[in-house]
């Protein structure tokens, strides 16, 4: 391994603009090489990297702020290697800063190896199709948008919504149905969030005795914004070590990816790049993909990486480039809703725009229940109708609806109150199914087109008697 001290300190700074440094006499530097920036003799080095080279001049992104740098007083240490993270046993139960240095006062990690934080693309031939159902204890996810090991399923939220609470529930509840999970780990990356958010998550986990299975990476709101470009990558590198070297099933929570994207925009604009939509760089899709695509399973490797990135949709707009590009990369999304939150529904999951693309691989006969797919389809189609009718009834009034429509409307309201709403109570899949079938029993056969006669006979008819009573006409 290279000893950094062997490397000459360069002066040669020619200009500093925002998070960028321009330097001359950069002989021998390589693209994306690591750079340590020393503001002055006694300061700690700050991390940077070479992002473009022209002859003997080079441009360097500085991730930990350029405040206090000067053209003559500051120096650069050029290292002929990309940015690496030291990984080794004992990474769990620790707290790190946004670039992966332990900050909890404990011993530093004994490096078993150093891994590139940018990761590498998994060869699609070596990918194992994710298919192991994870029971999260949350009805809207388990029954309607099932999560499987190795999936990337983000939470699209809005500022002030209870995504953190949902994420903490997920981290606590999630388990395989078949076997208890000893090899389970959580990597939590705070990206530009407040100290409170990070601390609340930590103490929540601590309270439930889960802290020794967690690695926390913290880039807080007060930390330099360019560092946010590294934090998710550093966290995922740790996750890859835990998954592929220690054989763990790692749940990675990245919050908040919106802060990441804003940092990306900031750095891009300081490079003078032509922006795409809303000022975000044209390569943001590819850039986000290098983060999200690091979820998955690899053939013959025991571990897995499941990602739950959280992002807040600016002005709750799902067509904003951040949720939009994320949705184009991830394998579905769980969307939170301000209206439900206001009505104290928890989790405030807006069912219709939610999706899990890998659901079909993980549910059905032998995995959850043979009738699970039809169950989810039927609930979805009836609930979509009910939502339309709710809109309609706000115009024409409930009296303007036919009797059949009024039943659907009623069904929709019960879905919100009884199915979606569950507080922080973990529900088994069977409990969730039971609630769902009971609600469906409120509807007549002709509204249950997605269910076969046999499914109706088995699940719906037996539940009908008691619901007929609750129908108010």
């Amino acid at each position: 391994m290279m000893d950094p001290r062997q490397h000459i300190l360069h002066r040669g700074l020619t200009s500093i603009r925002g998070p960028l440094i321009f330097m001359r006499n950069a002989e021998g530097v390589g693209l994306y090489d690591r750079v340590e920036v020393l503001p002055s003799e006694q300061d700690d080095p700050r991390l940077g990297r070479v992002v473009s080279i022209s002859g003997t001049t080079a441009v360097i992104d500085v991730f930990q702020g350029t405040e206090g740098l000067s053209l003559t007083g500051s120096r650069l240490r050029l290292l002929p290697e990309p940015i690496l993270l030291s990984v080794g046993p004992g990474m769990l139960g620790r707290v790190y800063n946004g670039v992966g240095e332990a900050i909890d006062g404990g011993p530093s990690i004994v490096a078993e190896q150093r891994m590139r934080i940018d990761g590498e693309a998994i060869n699609p031939m070596r990918r194992e199709v994710p298919s192991e159902f994870i029971e999260t204890g949350i009805s809207c996810i388990d029954a309607m948008n099932s999560l499987v090991r190795g999936q990337k399923l983000p939470i699209f939220s809005g500022s002030g919504l209870s995504h953190d609470r949902l994420a903490a529930d997920l981290a606590r509840f999630a388990r395989l149905r078949a076997s208890p999970d000893l090899k389970f780990a959580v990597v939590f990356a705070a990206i530009g969030v407040t100290f409170d958010t990070a601390e609340r998550f930590r103490s929540e986990m601590d309270e439930h005795g889960a802290m020794e299975r967690i690695a926390l990476f913290l880039n807080l709101a007060s930390d330099p914004s360019a560092e946010r470009l590294l934090t998710p990558r550093v966290a995922l590198t740790a996750a890859e070590y835990l998954a592929y070297h220690e054989g763990r099933h790692v749940l990675v929570i990245l919050t908040d990816m919106t802060n990441y994207c804003e940092a990306l925009r900031e750095v891009s604009s300081s490079h003078g790049e032509v922006p795409s939509r809303k000022g975000y760089p044209g390569y943001m899709y590819s850039d986000l993909a290098t983060i999200y695509e690091r979820a998955g399973r690899i053939m013959g490797k025991p571990g897995s990486i499941t990602q739950v990135p959280i992002l807040s949709m600016p002005s709750d707009d799902i067509t904003h480039p951040i949720p939009d590009l994320s949705g184009y990369i991830t394998e579905g999304q769980i969307v939170l809703d301000r209206e439900l939150e206001r009505r104290s529904v928890f989790p405030p999951i807006k069912l219709l725009p939610c999706l899990s693309r890998l659901m079909n691989q993980g549910i059905g006969k032998g995995m959850t229940h043979a009738d699970h797919p039809a169950f989810a389809q039927q609930l979805y189609s009836s609930y979509a109708l009910a939502r339309q009718l709710r809109l309609l009834s706000s115009v024409v009034g409930e009296e303007g609806l036919s009797k059949a429509d009024r039943r659907l409307l009623h069904f929709g309201n019960r879905m919100d109150r009884e199915f979606i709403h569950q507080e922080d109570q973990r529900r088994s899949l069977e409990e969730t199914f039971d609630i769902g079938w009971t609600l469906l029993a409120e509807l007549p056969d002709e509204s249950l087109i997605r269910l076969s006669d046999a499914q109706i006979a088995e699940h719906v008819t037996p539940r009908r008697d008691d619901t007929a009573v609750t129908l108010q006409d």
Partner: protein
């Protein structure tokens, strides 16, 4: 060999001082790791190249070596059933040499040089041959014979032809005497990816690519040799639809390009296709399929190249006389790759940052689809279907808008349908196909007599439904007269019965043309009966509660392609249900009586 020395590095784009002759689009190799790259700009004394691999660690002074040849693919047996990257490097071999992750600087041959193929000669020595003529064939997979052709531009007398024997890719298979000397042919050829391969004649697509998807085959047919686009916001079902078409369409060879999309989707195909059977031939689907994967996190320049790699391979099979279907998911990611490279070149952007040449590049790509007569005179086709991923689901953005100008089949995917889990979420009023006339003729000759009329009728009911839905929003459904509520009922039944088709239902994922005809007929019957009944005073909404209506709406998944006789039973049941209605003795709609 020409050489250049790198002095400027910006992501995948390099500039270098050059010595010797370089050509535009020439394939070059960069540095000690010999990264694959291509010349994209020439200046006096310098060249600009785009690198198809990760350039991390690359330093000024690295040497670029010219190859003297344009970026090309290798053509020969050994592609079907396999997955390649955007530059046609076999991902299996890459995994064998590099492990689970894809790294820069891999050198593996695109096609396996050592494998032996059993060659069967089909001509006699001494025959006069012309370009494109079939010399013989090897069984590439049990489903597809790879036909060995006389190369384009070569004709003369067949001096020698290999016997029935095992040959490696580079072994000689034939020798021709031409006007300029002798010409030796092997199983392996090369073709530059950005140059379309020639054919004798192009014709308008005159028959449908049957997909087994009712909404496509019945409403928006794809012509064999046509080009089509499927735009839709994220999660609306583009990829599932593409994969469904790749599985069940009646093409001979499938080229599937994952262009800047998810790794798991490609893994899914690799694990699923070998298990599925072609309903027509009984062969495994993987035997007719080749995959190109350049996932979203793989280098972007290779993503740009991947669609050309794919379409060149498609043309190669087309020239052998096959009907080829090419799928690219998604053309938007290709366009973004183009935009990213263009931005690094500091070209002046046109719309939304895309370079001004986006429309012409798109046109060139779509134009490589076609229904043709090959050089050797056989009918063949290359159909190209792409997905489009418009930002925010907005179809007015450049890639969707420009694609629309060149494709003739446009399948618009609709977020609202997808959210209600109504699949395929093709919006029937925003989609269109310009292959309808020719397809109608084809159906006429193939037993689907009233195809065109039925199609018209379905569309007009849907149109009317949309208008009525607007009224319902104002006055409520109950306020509409019976005749209008009848339209709504017919539309609802039709939509559920015909247009809904789950790609994951073992029974319904593929619907044979015969079954489609039966279903159309039955729904037609229902509508006729319903109109009569309503005329006689029956409340249209009552029709929705008939058990037979429920059965109709579940036709697709309840009756398999092999059980067509059950349709007669149902026709009978429909008739019976309506005559008892007329007699005023309605059967109880369901076990549960609506509380009054």
């Amino acid at each position: 060999m020409s050489r250049a020395e790198v002095f400027w590095i910006n992501g995948p784009v390099l500039k270098a001082h050059s010595e010797g002759l370089f050509r535009m689009k020439e394939a070059v190799y960069v540095g000690r790791e010999r990264l694959a790259a291509e010349v994209i700009r020439l200046d006096t004394g310098s060249i600009t190249v785009q690198v198809f691999e990760d350039t991390t660690g690359l330093r000024p002074g690295a040497i670029i070596e010219g190859s003297g040849m344009a970026m090309a693919v290798e053509l020969g047996p050994g592609m079907l059933g396999r997955m390649f990257d955007g530059l046609q490097r076999p991902l299996e071999a890459i995994a064998a040499s590099q492990g689970d992750f894809v790294r820069a600087g891999v050198e593996v041959p695109n096609l396996d040089r050592d494998r032996r193929w059993r060659f069967t000669p089909l001509l006699k020595e001494g025959a006069a041959v012309v370009p494109g003529q079939v010399l013989g064939e090897v069984e590439e997979t049990p489903a597809v014979k790879n036909r060995v052709l006389v190369p384009d531009g070569v004709s003369g007398e067949l001096e020698w032809l290999a016997a029935d024997e095992e040959l490696r890719l580079e072994d000689p298979v034939a020798r021709l005497r031409t006007s300029t000397g002798t010409h030796e042919i092997s199983l392996l050829t090369r073709w530059p990816i950005r140059t379309p391969r020639r054919f004798a004649e192009q014709r308008v697509p005159n028959r449908p690519l049957l997909t087994g998807q009712r909404i496509i085959d019945t409403l928006f047919p794809i012509g064999k040799g046509g080009a089509g686009a499927m735009p839709g916001g994220f999660g609306t079902g583009k990829t599932v639809l593409q994969q469904t078409l790749a599985k069940w369409c009646d093409a001979d060879v499938i080229v599937y390009i994952g262009c800047g999309e998810r790794g798991n989707e490609m893994a899914d195909i690799v694990s699923e296709f070998p298990r599925l059977e072609d309903p027509r031939t009984g062969r495994r689907l993987m035997e007719r399929t080749m995959l190109i994967a350049n996932t979203s996190n793989m280098p972007v320049a290779a993503r740009e190249a991947s669609i050309y790699t794919g379409i060149t391979i498609g043309e190669y099979f087309r020239d052998q006389g096959y009907h080829v279907a090419l799928f690219a998911d998604s053309i938007s990611r290709w366009a973004e790759a183009l935009r990213e490279i263009s931005a690094r070149l500091e070209e002046l952007p046109a719309e939304e940052g895309y370079p001004a040449y986006l429309p012409s590049r798109l046109a060139e790509f779509y134009e490589r689809a076609g229904n043709v007569v090959t050089l050797a005179g056989s009918e063949a086709s290359l159909t190209a279907m792409v997905t489009v991923s418009p930002p925010g689901g907005d179809f007015s953005e450049p890639v969707t808008a420009h694609s629309r100008r060149y494709v003739k089949s446009f399948l618009a995917l609709d977020r609202e349908r997808a959210q209600a889990r109504f699949y395929p979420a093709i919006h029937p009023l925003l989609s269109y196909s310009e292959y309808v006339l020719d397809t109608a003729r084809w159906w006429q000759d193939h037993g689907g007599v009233r195809w065109a009329q039925r199609r018209e009728r379905i569309l007009s009911i849907l149109q009317e439904q949309a208008q009525l839905a607007r009224m319902v929003k104002i006055v409520g459904r109950d306020a509409l007269p019976a005749s209008q509520r009848l339209v709504l009922v017919c539309a609802e039944v039709m939509v559920e019965a015909l247009l809904r088709q789950s790609a994951f239902s073992k029974v319904d994922r593929y619907c044979s043309p015969e079954k489609q005809s039966k279903m159309l007929e039955l729904v037609d019957d229902f509508i006729r009966h319903a109109e009569q009944a309503v005329q006689q005073g029956v409340d249209p909404d009552l029709l929705l509660t008939l058990p037979v209506t429920r059965r109709l709406q579940r036709l697709g998944e309840d009756i398999a392609n092999e059980e067509l006789e059950r349709f007669d039973e149902l026709t009978h049941e429909v008739g019976h249900a309506f005559s008892s209605l007329a007699a005023g003795q309605t059967e109880t709609p369901s076990q549960q009586v609506l509380p009054e």
